[in-house]
Subunit: 441 residues, 2 copies
C-alpha cells in the first residue's frame, strides 16, 4: 500500500471521530466544535499512549509536531482563514465603526486584566521568576477569534451588535497582541531588536489604515460596477459573458453554475492573497482574510460567493478544530501541576469574562449583552500555543509547564462554547419577552 | 513572520499562477487543467533554478519531494479522489455493464500494446537491458483517469457511452495494472513475494465483486428509504428532522442549508472511507471514491449532494494538477536524452491511441467514437510516476532516465486534453449534422 493510502485512512478516522463526537455534543445542545476538538485530543493521545495504533496507520506524532507543511496544519489554517472571510462577508465597515469605542474598551481591558491576573498568579506560585510570570500572563491575554465566532455564526448571531463588538475587539486585540508579544519576547529573550518592533508596529498600523480606508470607499466602486453590469446585460453581449465562464467554451449546456464557481475562485484567491499580505506585515493571516471578506461583502449583489464559500468552509473548518485538539498531549503532564492548572484555568476564565463584561458595560450595553461579550472573550487558542512555544524555545518553560499552558488554552476553548450558546439564548429570549411585553401594551 | 504565513503565500502564488495560465488556455479554447499543470512545472523549476526565490517564500523542493504528508501532496490526492466521486455520481451500474465488453477490449489492448511498444523501443535503444525495457513498458501502459475525465466532465460529456467505456476501461486497467506492476516489480526486484501478489489479486477481485454487487442491489434499499422519508414527512415529526441538522439546535432561522451540508459531510466521509478501503486492499484510492459516488448516485433524490460536492471539488482539484506538474523537475534532464524522450512520447501517444481506437472499433463503435476513446487513453499520470520511482529505488533507472519517464508522462498529459476536446466536439457536431439531416427528410 502506498503511503498516501495511509494518509487517506488518517483523514477518514479523524473526520469520522469528529463527526460522531460533534453529533453527540449537538444532541446535548452544545456546539459540535467541542466534539471536533476532542477528536483531535483523543487521536493524538491514543497514538502517543499506544504507539502500535500509530504504526498501523503510519502516523508519527513527532513528524506531525515538527513539520510545518503537514497537511493537518495547513488545512486547519485554511479552515480558520476561510471562516474569518465568511465573517467579513457579514460585516459592514460602518457597523464596525459604530461599535469601535466599546470594542476598544473590551480589547484593552481584555489584555490588561488577564495579563495582570496571570502574572500575579505565577508570582504567587513561583516568587521571583518574573520571566515565567510575564510569559504566562502573555499566554493568558491573546483571544481566539475562531471559536467564539463559529458558535455565534451557527446561531445566526453574526448580525447582532454584540458580534460586531467581539469582531472589533478581536481585530484590536490582534494588533495590540502583536506589539506586546514582541515587547515581552524582547524582555524574556534579550537579543530582540526593539527598533524593528517599533517599525513593525508602524507598518501594521499603516496597512490597516489603508485597508479599512479602501474598504470604506469601495461602495462607490461597487455601485459603478453594478451600473456597468446592467449596461452590459442590456447590450446582451452573450459572447463576452461566456468568455467569463470557467468551463471549456464552445458548449452551451453547462450543468454547474460556472459564473458562481468562478466568483468562488476569485474570492479564494483574494482571501488567500490578503491573508498572505497581512502575514507579511506581521499580523495574523485571519485578519487579512476578514478584510477580504469585508471587501466581497460590497459586491454581494453582482458577484455572490457566500453559499459556495460556506460549502468549502464547512469542509475545511473541522480540520482547524481537530488541529487545535491535536496540540494537546498529555504525556508531558505531571499530576503535581494539577492545582496550578486549575488555578490557571480559573484565572483565564474569570479575567476575560470580567474584562469583557466591564468593557461592554462601559460602552453602555445591557447586562445580558455584556454577559455574552464576556463569555465570548474566554476562548484562547493559536496565540496561547505560540506563546507557550516561545517559552519552551527560550528555556523559560519546562516541557511540563508548556503542556500545562496548552491544557489551559484547551480548557478555555471547551468551557466557552456552551457558555456563549447559553448567554446568546438568554439574551435572545429576554429581548423577545420584552418585545412581546411591549406589544401587549 | 510565522512559517504558516509563508505556506499561505506559497498556496496563493500557486493558485494565482494556475488561475492565470488556466484562463489563457481557456481563451485558446484548450482545457484549463493544462495551465494548472504548467503552473506546477513552472513553480518547482523556477525554485530549483533560482534557489533564492524558494528561500524568500520558505519553500524547500527537497522537503516537498520527500515528505508524503506535505499538504500539496495530500490536497492533490483529495482533489482527484473527489473528482472520481463526482464521476461515480454520474454513473449507473447498469450503464457500466452495458459497455463492459468494449471497456475490456480497450483496457486489454491498452495494456498490451504500450507495454510491447515501450519494451521494443528500449530494447532497440539499449539492447540486452531487459529490466530497463520492462519497467519503461510498465510506465507506458498505466493510464491516468483524472485528466481525460476532467476534460470530458467540463464538456458535459460524462453521460455519453464513450465516457462510460473510458471509465470502465479505467477500472479494469487499474486492477490489471496492480497485478502486472506487482509481477514486473517481482521480476526486477527479486525479493518480492509472489504468493502475496496472488493473494492480493484474489482480495481485490473479491472486494470489487462485493462492491459492485452491493451497488447493483442498492436501488431497492434506496426505494425503501424514499418510502420511509415520505412516511416521516407525513407524520410531520419536526423535532426529529431538526435533530438531523448539523447546526446548533434551538434556533429556527437557519440561513445556510443544513440538511444539504450534512449530506455533504456524510458523502465526504463515505468517499474517504471507500478510498481508504480500496487502498487497504491494494487498489488505487480513486477506485473506492468512484464506487462511493456510484452508491450516492442511487440516493440522488432523497439526499442530494452533487452541487455542494462539486463546489468542494472545484477548490481541491487544481491542487491535483499543480501537484502533477510539480513532479517534473528539469534539473536532472540531459540534452542527449532528447531523441529518446521524443521517441518515448511518440510511442506512448501512438500505442495508447491505436489500442483505444481498435478496442472501441471491436466493440462496434463508430469511427468518431473510437477516435475519442483512443485519444482519451493517452494521458499517463500518477502510476507512471510510481513506476519511475520504483525504477529509481531498485537502481534500474538513473536519475536522468527517471526524469525522462516523468517528462514523458507530463507530455502525454498536456498533449491529450486538446485532442480529447477536439475529438469530442468533432463527434458531437457529426452526430448533430446527422440528426439535422434526418430531420430534413
Amino acid at each position: 500500500m502506498e503511503s498516501i493510502g495511509y494518509i487517506i485512512i488518517q483523514i477518514f478516522i479523524l473526520l469520522l471521530v469528529a463527526k460522531v463526537l460533534g453529533s453527540i455534543f449537538e444532541k446535548l445542545k452544545m456546539p459540535s466544535l467541542i466534539g471536533e476538538i476532542l477528536a483531535g485530543v483523543l487521536f493524538i493521545n491514543l497514538i502517543i499512549f499506544f504507539p502500535g495504533a500509530g504504526e498501523v496507520i503510519h502516523f508519527d506524532p513527532n513528524d506531525f509536531m515538527n513539520d510545518e507543511s503537514h497537511f493537518l496544519h495547513v488545512m486547519g489554517e485554511l479552515g480558520v482563514i476561510f471562516l474569518l472571510f465568511m465573517v467579513g462577508l457579514e460585516t459592514r465597515f460602518s457597523d464596525l465603526m459604530k461599535v469601535g469605542r466599546t470594542a476598544l474598551y473590551v480589547a484593552l481591558l481584555g489584555i490588561a486584566v488577564p495579563l495582570l491576573g496571570g502574572f500575579a498568579l505565577m508570582i504567587a506560585y513561583d516568587p521571583g521568576n518574573v520571566n515565567l510570570a510575564l510569559l504566562v500572563g502573555t499566554a493568558m491575554f491573546a483571544m481566539s477569534t475562531g471559536i467564539a465566532i463559529e458558535v455565534l455564526r451557527n446561531m445566526n448571531a453574526m448580525s447582532t451588535k454584540e458580534a460586531k463588538i467581539i469582531i472589533g475587539a478581536a481585530v484590536i486585540d490582534d494588533i495590540l497582541c502583536l506589539s506586546l508579544l514582541a515587547v515581552i519576547s524582547g524582555i524574556v529573550a534579550p537579543d530582540t531588536d526593539m527598533t524593528s518592533i517599533a517599525i513593525n508596529t508602524v507598518i501594521v498600523t499603516v496597512f490597516l489604515i489603508i485597508a479599512f480606508g479602501f474598504i470604506s470607499r469601495i461602495r462607490k466602486i461597487a455601485d459603478r460596477r453594478r451600473h456597468r453590469m446592467i449596461e452590459r446585460y442590456r447590450h446582451a453581449d452573450l459572447h463576452g459573458d461566456l468568455a467569463l465562464s470557467s468551463e471549456v467554451s464552445g458548449f452551451h449546456e453547462i450543468k454547474t453554475h460556472p459564473s458562481e464557481l468562478s466568483v468562488l475562485g476569485i474570492a479564494i484567491l483574494v482571501c488567500l492573497g490578503m491573508a498572505a499580505l497581512s502575514s507579511t506585515v506581521g499580523l495574523a493571516g485571519i485578519i487579512g482574510a476578514f478584510l477580504a471578506g469585508m471587501l466581497f461583502a460590497e459586491f454581494k449583489d453582482s458577484a455572490p460567493c457566500e453559499e459556495n464559500f460556506n460549502t468549502v468552509t464547512s469542509f475545511m473548518l473541522p480540520f482547524f478544530f481537530i488541529y487545535v485538539g491535536m496540540m494537546v498531549k498529555f504525556d508531558d503532564f505531571e499530576i503535581g501541576l494539577l492545582p496550578l492548572l486549575v488555578a490557571l484555568i480559573a484565572v483565564a476564565v474569570l479575567t476575560k469574562f470580567i474584562s469583557g463584561y466591564h468593557g461592554a458595560r462601559k460602552g453602555k450595553l445591557s447586562k445580558d449583552s455584556s454577559v455574552l461579550i464576556g463569555v465570548s472573550m474566554i476562548p484562547r487558542g493559536e496565540v496561547g500555543i505560540i506563546v507557550a512555544s516561545i517559552g519552551l524555545t527560550v528555556g523559560v518553560f519546562t516541557n511540563q509547564m508548556f503542556t500545562t499552558i496548552i491544557l489551559m488554552t484547551l480548557a478555555t476553548s471547551i468551557i466557552a462554547p456552551p457558555l456563549i450558546s447559553w448567554a446568546y439564548k438568554r439574551m435572545y429570549s429576554h429581548t423577545h419577552e420584552k418585545q412581546q411585553g411591549l406589544r401587549g401594551i
